[in-house]
Protein backbone atom coordinates (compact mmCIF):
# COMPACT_ATOMS: atom_id res chain seq x y z
CA UNK A 1 0.00 0.00 0.00
CA UNK A 2 1.20 3.50 -0.82
CA UNK A 3 0.62 6.58 1.29
CA UNK A 4 -1.84 7.85 -1.30
CA UNK A 5 -3.82 4.60 -1.06
CA UNK A 6 -3.88 5.06 2.69
CA UNK A 7 -5.16 8.64 2.44
CA UNK A 8 -7.92 7.41 0.15
CA UNK A 9 -9.00 4.79 2.69
CA UNK A 10 -9.12 7.41 5.44
CA UNK A 11 -11.15 9.74 3.21
CA UNK A 12 -13.54 6.88 2.43
CA UNK A 13 -14.12 6.44 6.14
CA UNK A 14 -14.68 10.16 6.71
CA UNK A 15 -17.12 10.24 3.78
CA UNK A 16 -19.20 7.54 5.47
CA UNK A 17 -19.02 9.07 8.94
CA UNK A 18 -19.69 12.64 7.84
CA UNK A 19 -21.58 12.54 4.54
CA UNK A 20 -22.54 16.18 5.06
CA UNK A 21 -18.89 17.30 4.68
CA UNK A 22 -17.46 18.30 1.29
CA UNK A 23 -14.24 16.29 0.89
CA UNK A 24 -13.28 17.34 -2.63
CA UNK A 25 -10.62 19.85 -1.56
CA UNK A 26 -9.24 18.44 1.67
CA UNK A 27 -5.63 19.56 2.03
CA UNK A 28 -3.41 16.70 3.21
CA UNK A 29 -1.03 18.92 5.18
CA UNK A 30 -3.72 20.78 7.18
CA UNK A 31 -5.31 19.38 10.32
CA UNK A 32 -8.63 17.70 9.50
CA UNK A 33 -10.27 19.46 12.43
CA UNK A 34 -9.28 22.86 10.92
CA UNK A 35 -10.94 22.26 7.57
CA UNK A 36 -13.82 19.93 8.40
CA UNK A 37 -16.30 20.00 11.21
CA UNK A 38 -15.22 16.85 13.02
CA UNK A 39 -15.59 16.43 16.78
CA UNK A 40 -14.18 13.89 19.20
CA UNK A 41 -17.09 11.50 18.49
CA UNK A 42 -16.15 11.58 14.80
CA UNK A 43 -12.46 10.89 15.51
CA UNK A 44 -13.44 7.97 17.71
CA UNK A 45 -15.44 6.68 14.77
CA UNK A 46 -12.45 6.95 12.43
CA UNK A 47 -10.48 4.82 14.87
CA UNK A 48 -13.27 2.27 15.22
CA UNK A 49 -13.88 2.06 11.48
CA UNK A 50 -10.15 1.42 10.93
CA UNK A 51 -10.44 -1.50 13.31
CA UNK A 52 -13.69 -2.78 11.86
CA UNK A 53 -12.81 -2.50 8.18
CA UNK A 54 -9.07 -3.09 8.16
CA UNK A 55 -8.14 -4.67 11.47
CA UNK A 56 -5.91 -1.70 12.32
CA UNK A 57 -5.58 -0.85 16.02
CA UNK A 58 -4.91 2.75 17.02
CA UNK A 59 -4.20 3.02 20.75
CA UNK A 60 -5.57 6.12 22.46
CA UNK A 61 -2.06 7.51 22.99
CA UNK A 62 -1.64 7.66 19.21
CA UNK A 63 -4.88 9.50 18.33
CA UNK A 64 -2.88 12.68 17.63
CA UNK A 65 -1.21 10.86 14.74
CA UNK A 66 -4.55 11.09 12.91
CA UNK A 67 -4.60 14.90 12.88
CA UNK A 68 -4.09 15.40 9.12
CA UNK A 69 -4.22 13.17 6.05
CA UNK A 70 -0.42 13.36 5.77
CA UNK A 71 0.10 12.32 9.37
CA UNK A 72 -2.53 9.58 8.96
CA UNK A 73 -0.58 8.24 5.98
CA UNK A 74 2.75 8.39 7.83
CA UNK A 75 1.32 6.57 10.80
CA UNK A 76 -1.09 4.11 9.18
CA UNK A 77 0.70 3.00 5.98
CA UNK A 78 3.29 0.88 7.85
CA UNK A 79 0.47 -0.63 9.90
CA UNK A 80 -1.41 -1.55 6.73
CA UNK A 81 1.71 -3.03 5.18
CA UNK A 82 2.37 -5.08 8.31
CA UNK A 83 -1.06 -6.73 8.14
CA UNK A 84 -1.00 -10.39 7.22
CA UNK A 85 -2.11 -10.84 3.60
CA UNK A 86 -5.83 -11.47 3.35
CA UNK A 87 -6.66 -14.79 1.82
Amino acid sequence: MTKDDCKKLVLDIIADIAPDEDLTNVRPDVRLRDQLQLDSMDFLDIVMELRKRHGIEVPEADYLQLASLDSCAEYLTPKFNALPARG
Binding site: P19, D20, D39, M41, L44, D45, M48, R51, K52
Partner: protein, 476 residues
Protein backbone atom coordinates in the same frame (compact mmCIF):
# COMPACT_ATOMS: atom_id res chain seq x y z
CA UNK B 1 -35.99 -16.63 15.91
CA UNK B 2 -33.36 -15.33 18.25
CA UNK B 3 -32.52 -18.10 20.65
CA UNK B 4 -28.95 -17.46 21.72
CA UNK B 5 -28.25 -17.51 25.40
CA UNK B 6 -25.17 -15.25 25.49
CA UNK B 7 -24.51 -11.75 24.13
CA UNK B 8 -21.70 -9.26 24.47
CA UNK B 9 -24.33 -6.71 25.44
CA UNK B 10 -27.91 -7.03 26.64
CA UNK B 11 -29.98 -3.86 26.25
CA UNK B 12 -33.12 -3.46 28.34
CA UNK B 13 -35.86 -1.56 26.50
CA UNK B 14 -36.48 -0.83 22.81
CA UNK B 15 -37.11 2.90 23.11
CA UNK B 16 -35.11 5.58 21.33
CA UNK B 17 -32.11 5.21 23.66
CA UNK B 18 -31.95 1.42 23.54
CA UNK B 19 -32.29 1.32 19.76
CA UNK B 20 -29.62 3.98 19.24
CA UNK B 21 -27.21 2.20 21.58
CA UNK B 22 -27.97 -1.06 19.81
CA UNK B 23 -27.17 0.40 16.40
CA UNK B 24 -23.76 1.64 17.59
CA UNK B 25 -22.85 -1.63 19.27
CA UNK B 26 -24.02 -3.86 16.43
CA UNK B 27 -22.34 -1.64 13.82
CA UNK B 28 -19.02 -2.18 15.56
CA UNK B 29 -19.42 -5.91 15.72
CA UNK B 30 -20.79 -6.47 19.20
CA UNK B 31 -23.27 -9.27 19.63
CA UNK B 32 -26.20 -7.40 21.05
CA UNK B 33 -29.83 -8.10 21.84
CA UNK B 34 -32.56 -5.71 22.96
CA UNK B 35 -35.19 -7.12 25.31
CA UNK B 36 -38.53 -5.31 25.35
CA UNK B 37 -41.48 -6.26 27.55
CA UNK B 38 -44.04 -4.51 25.39
CA UNK B 39 -45.01 -5.75 21.94
CA UNK B 40 -44.07 -2.49 20.22
CA UNK B 41 -40.90 -0.41 20.03
CA UNK B 42 -40.60 3.25 20.98
CA UNK B 43 -41.06 3.26 24.74
CA UNK B 44 -42.09 6.74 25.80
CA UNK B 45 -42.19 7.73 22.12
CA UNK B 46 -44.16 4.95 20.53
CA UNK B 47 -47.41 4.60 18.70
CA UNK B 48 -50.44 2.38 18.89
CA UNK B 49 -53.32 1.46 16.65
CA UNK B 50 -56.95 1.74 17.54
CA UNK B 51 -59.89 1.28 15.17
CA UNK B 52 -57.50 1.23 12.25
CA UNK B 53 -55.96 4.56 13.18
CA UNK B 54 -52.41 5.10 14.38
CA UNK B 55 -51.82 7.35 17.34
CA UNK B 56 -48.42 8.70 18.38
CA UNK B 57 -47.55 8.64 22.05
CA UNK B 58 -45.21 11.23 23.46
CA UNK B 59 -43.83 12.88 20.40
CA UNK B 60 -45.45 16.23 19.58
CA UNK B 61 -42.46 17.36 17.60
CA UNK B 62 -38.87 16.37 17.22
CA UNK B 63 -36.93 19.11 18.96
CA UNK B 64 -33.29 20.02 18.10
CA UNK B 65 -34.27 20.47 14.45
CA UNK B 66 -31.71 22.34 12.36
CA UNK B 67 -31.85 22.73 8.57
CA UNK B 68 -29.37 20.95 6.29
CA UNK B 69 -25.90 22.48 6.43
CA UNK B 70 -25.96 23.39 10.12
CA UNK B 71 -23.35 21.23 11.86
CA UNK B 72 -22.15 20.47 15.34
CA UNK B 73 -25.61 20.30 16.91
CA UNK B 74 -27.19 17.26 18.62
CA UNK B 75 -29.23 16.34 15.53
CA UNK B 76 -26.22 16.29 13.22
CA UNK B 77 -24.13 14.37 15.75
CA UNK B 78 -26.92 11.84 16.01
CA UNK B 79 -27.27 11.43 12.24
CA UNK B 80 -23.52 10.88 11.87
CA UNK B 81 -23.21 8.47 14.76
CA UNK B 82 -26.11 6.33 13.52
CA UNK B 83 -25.13 6.69 9.81
CA UNK B 84 -28.59 8.09 9.05
CA UNK B 85 -29.04 10.25 5.98
CA UNK B 86 -31.23 13.14 7.11
CA UNK B 87 -33.54 12.61 4.12
CA UNK B 88 -34.45 9.23 5.58
CA UNK B 89 -36.21 10.97 8.48
CA UNK B 90 -38.15 13.31 6.14
CA UNK B 91 -38.30 16.02 8.79
CA UNK B 92 -40.52 19.01 8.07
CA UNK B 93 -40.23 22.23 10.07
CA UNK B 94 -42.95 23.75 12.21
CA UNK B 95 -45.25 26.53 11.05
CA UNK B 96 -44.80 28.48 14.28
CA UNK B 97 -45.41 28.09 17.99
CA UNK B 98 -46.50 30.26 20.87
CA UNK B 99 -46.20 30.72 24.60
CA UNK B 100 -49.56 32.10 25.80
CA UNK B 101 -50.30 33.31 29.33
CA UNK B 102 -53.64 34.64 30.52
CA UNK B 103 -55.40 34.32 28.15
CA UNK B 104 -54.69 37.88 27.22
CA UNK B 105 -51.77 38.56 29.58
CA UNK B 106 -48.93 38.02 27.11
CA UNK B 107 -48.10 35.97 24.02
CA UNK B 108 -44.64 35.19 22.64
CA UNK B 109 -44.41 33.62 19.21
CA UNK B 110 -41.41 31.59 18.12
CA UNK B 111 -40.37 29.68 15.02
CA UNK B 112 -37.30 27.75 13.91
CA UNK B 113 -35.68 31.14 13.32
CA UNK B 114 -34.52 32.34 16.74
CA UNK B 115 -34.75 35.98 15.70
CA UNK B 116 -38.52 35.68 15.95
CA UNK B 117 -38.43 34.94 19.68
CA UNK B 118 -35.87 37.67 20.28
CA UNK B 119 -38.07 40.19 18.44
CA UNK B 120 -41.11 39.02 20.40
CA UNK B 121 -39.35 39.46 23.73
CA UNK B 122 -38.22 42.94 22.63
CA UNK B 123 -41.82 43.78 21.68
CA UNK B 124 -43.58 42.39 24.76
CA UNK B 125 -40.83 43.01 27.36
CA UNK B 126 -38.77 45.97 26.10
CA UNK B 127 -37.14 46.52 29.50
CA UNK B 128 -35.93 42.90 29.60
CA UNK B 129 -34.37 42.51 26.16
CA UNK B 130 -30.78 43.21 27.19
CA UNK B 131 -31.07 40.71 30.02
CA UNK B 132 -32.63 38.21 27.64
CA UNK B 133 -29.72 38.59 25.22
CA UNK B 134 -27.25 38.09 28.08
CA UNK B 135 -29.14 34.96 29.14
CA UNK B 136 -28.98 33.61 25.59
CA UNK B 137 -25.23 34.28 25.50
CA UNK B 138 -24.84 32.33 28.78
CA UNK B 139 -26.91 29.47 27.36
CA UNK B 140 -24.82 29.35 24.18
CA UNK B 141 -21.57 29.32 26.16
CA UNK B 142 -22.59 26.52 28.52
CA UNK B 143 -21.26 22.99 27.91
CA UNK B 144 -24.45 21.15 28.79
CA UNK B 145 -23.33 17.70 27.72
CA UNK B 146 -20.26 17.56 29.90
CA UNK B 147 -20.50 14.34 31.88
CA UNK B 148 -18.96 16.13 34.86
CA UNK B 149 -21.09 19.31 35.03
CA UNK B 150 -21.82 20.56 38.57
CA UNK B 151 -25.53 21.06 39.30
CA UNK B 152 -26.88 24.64 39.44
CA UNK B 153 -30.36 26.14 39.82
CA UNK B 154 -31.70 27.28 36.45
CA UNK B 155 -34.05 29.73 38.20
CA UNK B 156 -31.08 31.42 39.88
CA UNK B 157 -29.13 31.72 36.66
CA UNK B 158 -32.15 33.07 34.75
CA UNK B 159 -32.93 35.61 37.51
CA UNK B 160 -29.41 36.99 37.23
CA UNK B 161 -30.45 38.18 33.77
CA UNK B 162 -34.23 38.71 33.94
CA UNK B 163 -36.16 40.66 36.58
CA UNK B 164 -39.71 40.20 35.27
CA UNK B 165 -41.25 37.04 36.76
CA UNK B 166 -43.78 36.87 33.93
CA UNK B 167 -41.08 36.56 31.27
CA UNK B 168 -39.16 34.13 33.48
CA UNK B 169 -42.21 31.85 33.79
CA UNK B 170 -43.02 32.20 30.10
CA UNK B 171 -39.56 30.89 29.22
CA UNK B 172 -39.69 28.11 31.79
CA UNK B 173 -43.15 26.95 30.64
CA UNK B 174 -42.12 25.29 27.35
CA UNK B 175 -38.72 24.27 28.67
CA UNK B 176 -40.23 22.46 31.65
CA UNK B 177 -43.14 20.94 29.76
CA UNK B 178 -40.77 19.46 27.19
CA UNK B 179 -38.45 17.74 29.58
CA UNK B 180 -38.03 18.85 33.16
CA UNK B 181 -38.02 15.89 35.53
CA UNK B 182 -38.10 18.22 38.55
CA UNK B 183 -40.79 20.50 39.93
CA UNK B 184 -40.54 24.31 40.00
CA UNK B 185 -36.85 24.51 39.14
CA UNK B 186 -34.39 22.45 37.18
CA UNK B 187 -30.70 21.91 36.78
CA UNK B 188 -29.18 24.63 34.61
CA UNK B 189 -27.55 22.10 32.27
CA UNK B 190 -30.95 20.57 31.61
CA UNK B 191 -32.42 24.03 31.06
CA UNK B 192 -29.68 24.70 28.51
CA UNK B 193 -30.26 21.40 26.70
CA UNK B 194 -33.95 22.22 26.36
CA UNK B 195 -33.56 25.95 25.63
CA UNK B 196 -31.25 25.08 22.75
CA UNK B 197 -33.47 22.22 21.59
CA UNK B 198 -36.65 24.34 21.55
CA UNK B 199 -35.60 27.89 20.78
CA UNK B 200 -32.08 28.00 19.30
CA UNK B 201 -32.76 24.90 17.22
CA UNK B 202 -36.42 24.08 16.60
CA UNK B 203 -39.33 21.75 15.93
CA UNK B 204 -39.90 19.35 13.07
CA UNK B 205 -41.89 16.24 12.38
CA UNK B 206 -42.02 13.57 9.70
CA UNK B 207 -45.48 13.41 8.11
CA UNK B 208 -45.80 9.85 9.41
CA UNK B 209 -44.88 10.94 12.92
CA UNK B 210 -42.74 8.87 15.25
CA UNK B 211 -43.25 5.70 13.20
CA UNK B 212 -40.92 7.04 10.53
CA UNK B 213 -38.13 7.60 13.02
CA UNK B 214 -38.61 4.20 14.63
CA UNK B 215 -38.68 2.46 11.26
CA UNK B 216 -35.35 4.04 10.30
CA UNK B 217 -33.80 3.02 13.62
CA UNK B 218 -35.09 -0.55 13.34
CA UNK B 219 -33.78 -0.89 9.78
CA UNK B 220 -30.31 0.35 10.81
CA UNK B 221 -30.27 -1.97 13.78
CA UNK B 222 -31.29 -4.99 11.73
CA UNK B 223 -28.80 -4.21 8.94
CA UNK B 224 -26.04 -3.94 11.52
CA UNK B 225 -26.88 -7.41 12.80
CA UNK B 226 -28.60 -6.49 16.06
CA UNK B 227 -31.21 -8.79 17.53
CA UNK B 228 -34.30 -7.97 19.52
CA UNK B 229 -36.90 -9.92 21.42
CA UNK B 230 -40.31 -8.40 21.96
CA UNK B 231 -42.81 -9.28 24.69
CA UNK B 232 -39.76 -10.43 26.50
CA UNK B 233 -39.20 -8.43 29.66
CA UNK B 234 -36.27 -8.62 32.05
CA UNK B 235 -37.35 -9.43 35.59
CA UNK B 236 -33.99 -9.30 37.29
CA UNK B 237 -30.33 -8.73 36.64
CA UNK B 238 -28.39 -11.82 37.65
CA UNK B 239 -25.28 -11.02 39.66
CA UNK B 240 -22.11 -12.89 40.42
CA UNK B 241 -19.42 -11.40 42.69
CA UNK B 242 -21.00 -7.95 42.45
CA UNK B 243 -21.04 -7.93 38.64
CA UNK B 244 -23.87 -8.64 36.24
CA UNK B 245 -23.61 -12.14 34.84
CA UNK B 246 -26.70 -11.65 32.72
CA UNK B 247 -30.45 -11.20 32.97
CA UNK B 248 -33.39 -13.40 33.84
CA UNK B 249 -36.38 -12.94 31.55
CA UNK B 250 -40.04 -12.88 32.53
CA UNK B 251 -40.39 -16.49 31.36
CA UNK B 252 -37.51 -17.57 33.60
CA UNK B 253 -34.94 -17.99 30.81
CA UNK B 254 -31.40 -16.92 31.63
CA UNK B 255 -29.35 -14.85 29.18
CA UNK B 256 -25.71 -14.24 30.00
CA UNK B 257 -23.92 -11.04 28.95
CA UNK B 258 -20.66 -9.16 29.43
CA UNK B 259 -22.48 -5.82 29.76
CA UNK B 260 -26.04 -4.74 30.51
CA UNK B 261 -27.25 -1.37 29.24
CA UNK B 262 -30.58 -0.43 30.76
CA UNK B 263 -32.99 2.18 29.44
CA UNK B 264 -35.62 1.13 31.98
CA UNK B 265 -34.97 4.17 34.20
CA UNK B 266 -32.81 4.58 37.29
CA UNK B 267 -35.29 3.43 39.99
CA UNK B 268 -36.49 0.63 37.70
CA UNK B 269 -32.93 -0.57 37.00
CA UNK B 270 -32.10 -0.39 40.69
CA UNK B 271 -35.13 -2.62 41.32
CA UNK B 272 -33.81 -5.14 38.76
CA UNK B 273 -30.42 -5.13 40.52
CA UNK B 274 -32.08 -5.43 43.89
CA UNK B 275 -34.10 -8.41 42.66
CA UNK B 276 -30.78 -9.98 41.74
CA UNK B 277 -29.43 -9.41 45.26
CA UNK B 278 -27.56 -6.10 44.84
CA UNK B 279 -29.43 -3.28 46.55
CA UNK B 280 -28.47 0.29 45.71
CA UNK B 281 -27.25 2.07 48.88
CA UNK B 282 -29.10 5.32 48.15
CA UNK B 283 -31.92 4.43 45.79
CA UNK B 284 -33.10 6.96 43.21
CA UNK B 285 -36.60 8.33 43.90
CA UNK B 286 -39.02 8.02 41.00
CA UNK B 287 -39.97 11.26 39.27
CA UNK B 288 -43.05 13.23 40.34
CA UNK B 289 -44.18 14.52 36.98
CA UNK B 290 -46.66 12.83 34.77
CA UNK B 291 -49.27 13.88 32.25
CA UNK B 292 -52.58 13.17 30.65
CA UNK B 293 -53.06 13.79 26.97
CA UNK B 294 -56.36 14.24 25.15
CA UNK B 295 -56.42 13.41 21.47
CA UNK B 296 -59.18 14.43 19.07
CA UNK B 297 -59.21 13.20 15.51
CA UNK B 298 -60.95 15.66 13.21
CA UNK B 299 -62.58 15.25 9.80
CA UNK B 300 -60.83 18.40 8.61
CA UNK B 301 -57.47 20.03 9.22
CA UNK B 302 -57.32 22.33 12.29
CA UNK B 303 -56.80 25.21 9.83
CA UNK B 304 -60.39 24.72 8.66
CA UNK B 305 -61.48 25.57 12.21
CA UNK B 306 -59.31 28.69 12.21
CA UNK B 307 -56.36 27.01 13.93
CA UNK B 308 -53.83 27.49 11.13
CA UNK B 309 -51.10 29.52 12.75
CA UNK B 310 -49.94 27.37 15.66
CA UNK B 311 -47.94 24.16 15.68
CA UNK B 312 -47.49 24.00 19.47
CA UNK B 313 -49.00 26.32 22.09
CA UNK B 314 -47.61 26.28 25.65
CA UNK B 315 -50.25 27.89 27.83
CA UNK B 316 -50.71 28.88 31.45
CA UNK B 317 -53.57 30.60 33.22
CA UNK B 318 -52.86 34.06 34.64
CA UNK B 319 -49.33 35.36 35.07
CA UNK B 320 -47.62 32.43 36.76
CA UNK B 321 -46.77 28.89 35.79
CA UNK B 322 -46.80 26.10 38.39
CA UNK B 323 -44.85 23.09 37.27
CA UNK B 324 -45.63 20.70 40.10
CA UNK B 325 -47.38 17.39 40.59
CA UNK B 326 -50.96 18.66 41.01
CA UNK B 327 -53.17 18.24 44.07
CA UNK B 328 -56.03 17.21 41.77
CA UNK B 329 -56.02 14.40 39.17
CA UNK B 330 -55.19 16.97 36.49
CA UNK B 331 -54.01 20.58 36.59
CA UNK B 332 -55.91 22.08 33.67
CA UNK B 333 -54.57 25.58 34.28
CA UNK B 334 -51.58 24.92 32.07
CA UNK B 335 -50.74 22.60 29.24
CA UNK B 336 -49.40 22.05 25.75
CA UNK B 337 -51.55 22.10 22.61
CA UNK B 338 -50.18 20.24 19.61
CA UNK B 339 -51.63 20.54 16.11
CA UNK B 340 -49.53 18.03 14.12
CA UNK B 341 -51.09 19.15 10.83
CA UNK B 342 -49.33 22.49 11.17
CA UNK B 343 -45.88 21.55 9.93
CA UNK B 344 -44.56 22.59 6.52
CA UNK B 345 -45.22 19.26 4.81
CA UNK B 346 -44.27 18.70 1.20
CA UNK B 347 -47.02 18.47 -1.43
CA UNK B 348 -48.80 15.14 -1.08
CA UNK B 349 -47.72 14.67 2.53
CA UNK B 350 -50.63 16.46 4.20
CA UNK B 351 -52.14 14.34 6.98
CA UNK B 352 -55.37 12.57 5.99
CA UNK B 353 -57.16 13.70 9.14
CA UNK B 354 -56.95 16.60 11.56
CA UNK B 355 -55.41 16.19 14.99
CA UNK B 356 -55.84 18.22 18.15
CA UNK B 357 -53.83 17.09 21.18
CA UNK B 358 -53.61 18.67 24.63
CA UNK B 359 -51.21 17.60 27.38
CA UNK B 360 -51.56 18.67 31.03
CA UNK B 361 -49.91 17.78 34.33
CA UNK B 362 -51.54 14.91 36.22
CA UNK B 363 -51.28 13.20 39.59
CA UNK B 364 -50.32 9.56 39.02
CA UNK B 365 -51.64 8.17 42.34
CA UNK B 366 -55.24 8.99 41.41
CA UNK B 367 -55.04 7.51 37.94
CA UNK B 368 -53.28 4.40 39.21
CA UNK B 369 -55.74 3.72 42.03
CA UNK B 370 -59.18 3.96 40.42
CA UNK B 371 -60.90 0.71 39.54
CA UNK B 372 -61.53 0.31 35.82
CA UNK B 373 -65.14 1.68 35.63
CA UNK B 374 -64.26 4.78 37.65
CA UNK B 375 -61.04 5.20 35.66
CA UNK B 376 -63.06 5.29 32.46
CA UNK B 377 -65.57 7.75 33.87
CA UNK B 378 -62.82 10.04 35.14
CA UNK B 379 -61.08 9.96 31.78
CA UNK B 380 -64.25 11.21 30.13
CA UNK B 381 -64.75 13.90 32.76
CA UNK B 382 -61.21 15.24 32.57
CA UNK B 383 -61.06 15.00 28.79
CA UNK B 384 -63.65 17.77 28.57
CA UNK B 385 -62.00 19.92 31.24
CA UNK B 386 -58.54 19.69 29.65
CA UNK B 387 -59.78 20.61 26.19
CA UNK B 388 -62.00 23.43 27.42
CA UNK B 389 -59.09 24.99 29.30
CA UNK B 390 -56.73 24.73 26.34
CA UNK B 391 -59.22 26.18 23.86
CA UNK B 392 -59.18 29.48 25.75
CA UNK B 393 -55.74 29.99 24.19
CA UNK B 394 -56.76 29.24 20.59
CA UNK B 395 -58.98 31.26 18.25
CA UNK B 396 -62.57 30.60 19.38
CA UNK B 397 -64.48 27.72 17.83
CA UNK B 398 -68.08 26.98 18.93
CA UNK B 399 -68.42 23.74 20.91
CA UNK B 400 -70.91 22.41 18.39
CA UNK B 401 -68.49 22.97 15.49
CA UNK B 402 -65.65 21.13 17.22
CA UNK B 403 -68.00 18.30 18.19
CA UNK B 404 -69.25 18.02 14.61
CA UNK B 405 -65.70 17.86 13.28
CA UNK B 406 -64.54 15.23 15.80
CA UNK B 407 -64.56 11.67 14.48
CA UNK B 408 -62.66 9.93 17.29
CA UNK B 409 -61.08 10.70 20.64
CA UNK B 410 -58.64 9.02 22.95
CA UNK B 411 -56.80 9.93 26.11
CA UNK B 412 -53.75 8.59 27.82
CA UNK B 413 -52.98 8.95 31.48
CA UNK B 414 -50.16 8.18 33.94
CA UNK B 415 -51.69 4.70 34.23
CA UNK B 416 -51.27 4.13 30.49
CA UNK B 417 -47.67 5.32 30.66
CA UNK B 418 -46.80 2.93 33.49
CA UNK B 419 -48.57 0.06 31.76
CA UNK B 420 -46.72 0.45 28.48
CA UNK B 421 -43.31 1.75 29.54
CA UNK B 422 -42.82 0.30 33.02
CA UNK B 423 -41.90 3.76 34.34
CA UNK B 424 -42.94 4.03 37.97
CA UNK B 425 -45.55 6.73 38.65
CA UNK B 426 -45.89 7.32 34.91
CA UNK B 427 -42.85 9.59 35.22
CA UNK B 428 -42.47 10.76 31.65
CA UNK B 429 -39.19 12.58 32.19
CA UNK B 430 -37.84 10.10 34.67
CA UNK B 431 -36.31 10.72 38.02
CA UNK B 432 -35.39 14.16 39.34
CA UNK B 433 -31.88 12.87 39.93
CA UNK B 434 -29.95 12.22 36.75
CA UNK B 435 -26.98 9.87 36.44
CA UNK B 436 -24.81 11.61 33.88
CA UNK B 437 -22.16 8.91 33.81
CA UNK B 438 -24.77 6.18 33.61
CA UNK B 439 -23.23 4.25 36.51
CA UNK B 440 -25.08 1.83 38.78
CA UNK B 441 -24.21 -0.35 41.78
CA UNK B 442 -22.83 -3.00 39.40
CA UNK B 443 -19.70 -2.08 37.41
CA UNK B 444 -20.92 -3.56 34.11
CA UNK B 445 -24.52 -2.30 34.28
CA UNK B 446 -25.08 1.16 32.80
CA UNK B 447 -28.06 3.46 32.41
CA UNK B 448 -29.12 5.16 29.22
CA UNK B 449 -32.21 7.10 28.27
CA UNK B 450 -34.11 9.68 30.22
CA UNK B 451 -32.48 9.04 33.59
CA UNK B 452 -29.00 9.53 32.16
CA UNK B 453 -30.05 13.10 31.56
CA UNK B 454 -30.04 14.08 27.89
CA UNK B 455 -33.62 15.10 27.11
CA UNK B 456 -36.04 14.98 24.22
CA UNK B 457 -36.02 12.22 21.62
CA UNK B 458 -32.77 13.44 20.08
CA UNK B 459 -31.37 13.52 23.62
CA UNK B 460 -32.63 10.01 24.29
CA UNK B 461 -30.86 8.70 21.20
CA UNK B 462 -27.67 10.62 22.03
CA UNK B 463 -27.82 9.13 25.51
CA UNK B 464 -27.83 5.61 24.09
CA UNK B 465 -24.99 6.53 21.74
CA UNK B 466 -22.87 8.20 24.43
CA UNK B 467 -23.23 5.40 26.94
CA UNK B 468 -22.50 2.72 24.34
CA UNK B 469 -19.41 4.67 23.21
CA UNK B 470 -18.16 5.59 26.65
CA UNK B 471 -18.68 2.36 28.56
CA UNK B 472 -18.35 -0.30 25.89
CA UNK B 473 -16.87 0.73 22.53
CA UNK B 474 -14.14 3.04 23.80
CA UNK B 475 -12.88 0.35 26.10
CA UNK B 476 -11.88 -1.63 23.03
Amino acid sequence: MNTRSHYDVVIIGAGMAGLAAGIRLAHFGREVCIFERHNAVGGLNGFYSRDGRRYDVGLHALTNYVPPGVKGTPLTKLLRQLRIDRDELALRGQVGSRIAFGPGVADLRFTNDFQMLEAEVARAFPAQIDGFRALVAAVRAHDEVSLAAAPASAREVVRRHLSDPLLEDMLFCPVMFYGSPTERDMDFSQFVILFKALFLEGFARPAEGVRRILRVLLAKYREAGGERRMKCGVRRIVLRDGRAAGVELDDGALITADHVLSSAGAPETEALLSAGGLPTPRPTAPGRLSFVETISVLDRPPAALGWAGDTIVFFSEGRRFDYVCPAAPVDVRSGVICLPNNFAYEPGEALAEGWFRVTSLARPEDWAAWPEPEYRARKQEWFGAVQASARRFLPPVPDADLAAATVATDMFTPRTITRFTGHQRGAVYGSGVKHRRGLTAAPNVYLCGTDQGFLGIVGAMLSGISMANHHILQRG
